[in-house]
Amino acid sequence: MKKLLLLLIALSGFLFAITPIVPIPLHVKVNKQKALLGEKLFMDPILSSDKTVSCLSCHNIFTAGGADKRRFSLGVGGQKDNIHSPTVLNAVYNFKQFWNGRAENLAQQVNGPLHNPVEMNMTDSLIEKRLNADKYYKKLFYKVYKTRYITYKEVTDAIVTFEDALTTPNCKFDRYLRGKTTLSKQQMQGYEDFKHLGCITCHNGINIGGNMMQKAGIFHTMFEKKKYPDLYSITKNAHFINVYKVPTLRNVALRAPYFHNGSAKTLCDAVMDMGYYQLGIKLSKNQIDDIIAFLKTLTGQRPAILGETP
């Protein structure tokens, strides 16, 4: 009996140790009405000061894996930001939001782009004024929130609910983890390399990243100091110069360019750079190919909410 128990404990420890990546749930439970209202808001440029930019402009959930194909996104009046838009897909599984993790959750994150003068450049009151002047929105908000006057709180709540629903389940690797499918030899080799070379020390968990911060450029200087808003810019702790949130690798194949400054134009560049700067390894062509083959298994299904109609 005791032996059996010990075996079980040992086995569980072993299992835990070798499953640093877990699949994302097949279904997410959100208030559908709120999410659909959020979707409408997400795609509506009414939320930018000159009505040229919507959330979708920089987080293209349809074609760019929830990020921006441009290195730097354009805000209102064609202004250019100095950071690459991170993906909004599966963002709900990130432990913090923004590249430097300054938002604890999506609700805090939503405030950022809406108010950023070079992004959407809005104020709470302007958003309320615009939406309350819109009969269609008034009707929708009344239906969902039972409120005659739309407030900023409900606007962000709806958007966040939509973003909560933006998960891409059932990628090949998730199916592999669930035992529903097998990986090709190359993909398997890529996963092995991913683990043994140490990618997994940062890219682990449900989101294969997005649960810790890491310094960009361990063995070689990767970026100029303090050019981009890093963790140091918030904490002023010297340890955190060039420290950014480790991004998720889900749907990574869809979202070139890469890194917080969009400096890697292709996935190949990105993998190579990571090996060089982070792991201190010069990856071979085969290794890169294998890893890319593995990374491509991380492309999931389109979020279910996008097919929904109110």
Binding site: A17, F95, I200, M212, K215, I218, F219, L231, F240
Partner: protein
């Protein structure tokens, strides 16, 4: 008023006490809830901290791990701290002063811990990667360096050393950076190997100490201790708070009990006062509704009862001649009689139908019963009356018997109708018991009387009172010698109202005087103008007793002394001339003026011959009731003859009234009557009839 104000204060006080108690009770509940809440969150925070520590150890142990858990737990640590800091109990000054410094230190410690965790994870990932890399790289060294044994040794040594230190997790361990030393004659691949090896080795060696320190900082952070201290301090506070609350609760309870007792006492006082008031009220009510003398209900009470307009039967009982009893025996005895009479009345019963007994005025009693058949009521009344009549009231050794008249009525207005009925039987003096009925037209009679009274009043004011004269024939000379003046009211439309219609009505009013005065004036005037005739004026005992009227009469007679001689006075015999002396004095007085005295309606009522012997009477007028029947009734004939004989014996002349036929006229002539009066001779008229 005083009591109610006090009550108000007490009630207000009690309300405050009860309110305070309730508030305190809920306060205690709230405080208890707050305490539990704080303890729960604090415990959760402590657990979070332990969990994070466990995560750190776990992460440091494995080559690679799932960092979701540590990310989640670290986040939880911060968010639970925020929850703790915003708990409502910390809005209490006592708690916030005591706990906030400690919590602020916890906050800083947690933030520091978070920074360390971030840093730990960065280092952990890289060191492990490099270490794993070195382990794998070391294995590959033989492919690079086939014949460089000492390089293999160096590599083994370095890797073992790192492995040893990593396992020891000893930050104090003196660690000199050892690198692979490049040898001469190495190819580029070999040099590259050494370079890469040294790069990772250097990273590990430069960061390992920092890694250990950071790990140790996380695991030994002051968060745990601070949370424990917070817990201890909170315990002290809450125990103190609980005690305070207990004391306050007991205090409030005591006050509430005292308040309740005070209220009960005051309620008792108020109740006692109320009782007194009730007694007084009851007494007053009794007095207002009861007759104080007899203890029966009073008129006020009866009227109240009758207001309900329910069906009743009312017996109105009146003691006959009570005024005489009062006069005769005095008030004390009369009152005692009333009491005993009341007691007797109270015993009257008809099969439990009697509702109540009343004394509504001096000698008038009412028995009110449920409706019953009038026959039955009359039967009962008769029985009662017999009881009363046969009862002998013995007061102060004086035996008094009383007679009663009873009016029975069951039609509204109950009392008024019964009263009318009673008056009717009192007036007629015939029956003792009567049932009021609409058929008796008693009310109409009364209305007629009232109308007549008004008419008379109007007549007097507007000179509508006239004297009519009825001729009286001297049977010897066969000539009209006298006239009887009779009062008439002639209405504006010419209708003539005979005195029988109004004299009875006005008898007891001042109008009666006015009428008589009017007649006196009339007769004086006509007598002056027609001194060849005699005129007779009717006067009653009431008139004679009226001093003012008599003075007026005497004055008039004196004025026209010469003419006064042809005025006679007819005294009405139907009314008893009870005061012989006064009447005689009057007769003497008018005789002085040459007036003659006639007795009117002789032969009716109390007529007795004794008068005639006592009073100086000149003429007897024999009543119509005798005269009109002499032809048919032999008794009447004998009576008239006797009267004539008697009169002649006393030298009194006689007048036969109501002579309406030649037969009667012939007969009275034969009998020897001196004068005849009647429709045969002439009806009364305003003008003097001479033939």
């Amino acid at each position: 008023m005083r009591i109610s104000k006090t009550m108000l204060f007490i009630v207000a006080g009690l309300v405050i006490i009860v309110y305070t108690s309730i508030v305190m009770y809920f306060n205690q509940l709230k405080t208890n809830r707050y305490h539990t809440e704080f303890r729960t969150v604090l415990q959760r925070l402590t657990n979070d901290n332990l969990r994070v520590n466990y995560d750190i150890l776990s992460v440091s142990l494995y080559a690679y791990s799932n960092d979701d858990k540590i990310a989640k737990d670290a986040k939880m640590l911060t968010s639970d701290y925020k929850t703790l800091k915003s708990l409502p109990i910390l809005k209490n000054r006592q708690y916030s002063t005591a706990l906030m410094p400690m919590l602020s230190r916890s906050d800083r410690a947690i933030q520091k811990k978070q920074t360390n965790i971030t840093w730990f994870l960065i280092l952990n990932a890289n060191i492990k990667n490099s270490f794993v890399f070195l382990l794998n790289y070391a294995r590959k060294s033989k492919y690079y360096f086939k014949s460089y044994n000492h390089i293999h040794q160096q590599i083994r040594h370095i890797v073992r050393n790192i492995s040893y230190i990593t396992r020891m997790q000893d930050s104090d361990c003196q660690y000199n950076i050892k690198l692979l030393l490049p040898l001469q004659n190495l190819n580029e691949r070999q040099l590259n190997y050494i370079h890469t090896f040294n790069m990772h080795d250097t990273y590990i060696q430069t960061h390992l100490r920092n890694y250990f320190i950071t790990t140790s900082k996380i695991l030994n952070s002051s968060v745990q201790k601070l949370l424990q201290n917070t817990d201890k301090r909170f315990d002290k506070l809450s125990v103190h708070d609980d005690e305070q609350l207990k004391i306050r609760t007991v205090f409030a309870l005591i006050i509430a009990i005292i308040g309740a007792i005070a209220m009960l006492f005051l309620t008792y006082l108020k109740e006692r006062d109320n009782k007194k008031l009730k007694i007084t009220k009851a007494h007053l009510l009794y007095q207002s509704s009861h007759d104080t003398l007899t203890g029966l209900l009073n008129r006020f009470s009866l009227e109240n009862t009758l207001k309900q307009q329910q069906k009743y039967l009312l017996f109105l009982i009146d003691i006959d001649g009570f005024k005489h009893i009062n006069d005769l025996y005095g008030t004390d005895i009369a009152n005692t009689l009333l009491k005993e009479f009341a007691a007797l009345i109270k015993e009257m019963e008809i099969k439990n139908l009697i509702l109540s007994y009343y004394r509504i005025s001096g000698d008038t009693f009412v028995v009110l019963s449920k409706p019953l058949a009038l026959k039955q009521a009359v039967h009962a009344a008769k029985k009662w009356r017999d009881q009363i009549i046969s009862h002998s009231f013995c007061i102060n050794n004086i035996e008094i018997s009383v007679n009663v008249k009873i009016a029975i009525n069951n039609t509204y207005p109950l009392l008024e109708n019964a009263d009318i009925g009673l008056k009717e039987i009192k007036l007629a003096n015939e029956k003792n018991i009567m049932v009021y009925s609409q058929k008796l037209k008693l009310r109409e009679k009364i209305q007629n009387n009232i109308n007549m009274l008004n008419l008379t009043k109007e007549a007097i004011q507007n000179n509508m009172v006239h004297a009519f004269f009825q001729p009286i024939l001297n049977l010897k000379s066969q000539k009209i010698e006298k006239y009887e003046a009779l009062v008439r009211i002639i209405k504006k439309d010419g209708t003539v109202i005979p005195p029988i219609s109004f004299l009875g009505v006005i008898e007891t009013t001042p109008l009666y005087y006015d009428i008589t005065e009017n007649m006196i004036n009339n007769i004086i005037k006509i007598a002056q103008d027609n001194n060849q005739y005699r005129f007779s004026l009717n006067l009653s005992m009431q008139d004679i007793n009226n001093e003012k009227l008599m003075n007026m009469l005497f004055h008039e007679l004196k004025q026209g002394r010469k003419n006064g001689a042809n005025i006679d006075i007819e005294l009405l015999e139907t009314q008893s001339l009870y005061d012989i002396k006064t009447v005689q004095a009057f007769i003497n007085k008018v005789h002085e003026f040459g007036c003659k005295i006639l007795i009117d309606d002789f032969g009716t009522g109390y007529s007795n011959f004794a008068y005639l012997s006592q009073l100086d009477i000149d003429v007897l007028k024999i009543d119509a009731s005798i005269v009109k029947n002499i032809l048919t009734d032999d008794k009447m004939m004998q009576t008239i003859k006797t009267i004539v004989q008697f009169a002649k014996a006393l030298n009194i002349q006689t007048v036969a009234e109501f002579v309406d036929s030649q037969g009667v006229l012939d007969e009275i002539e034969k009998i020897g009557i001196d004068y005849a009066q009647g429709y045969l001779i002439g009806k009364p008229s305003a003008a003097l009839k001479t033939s």
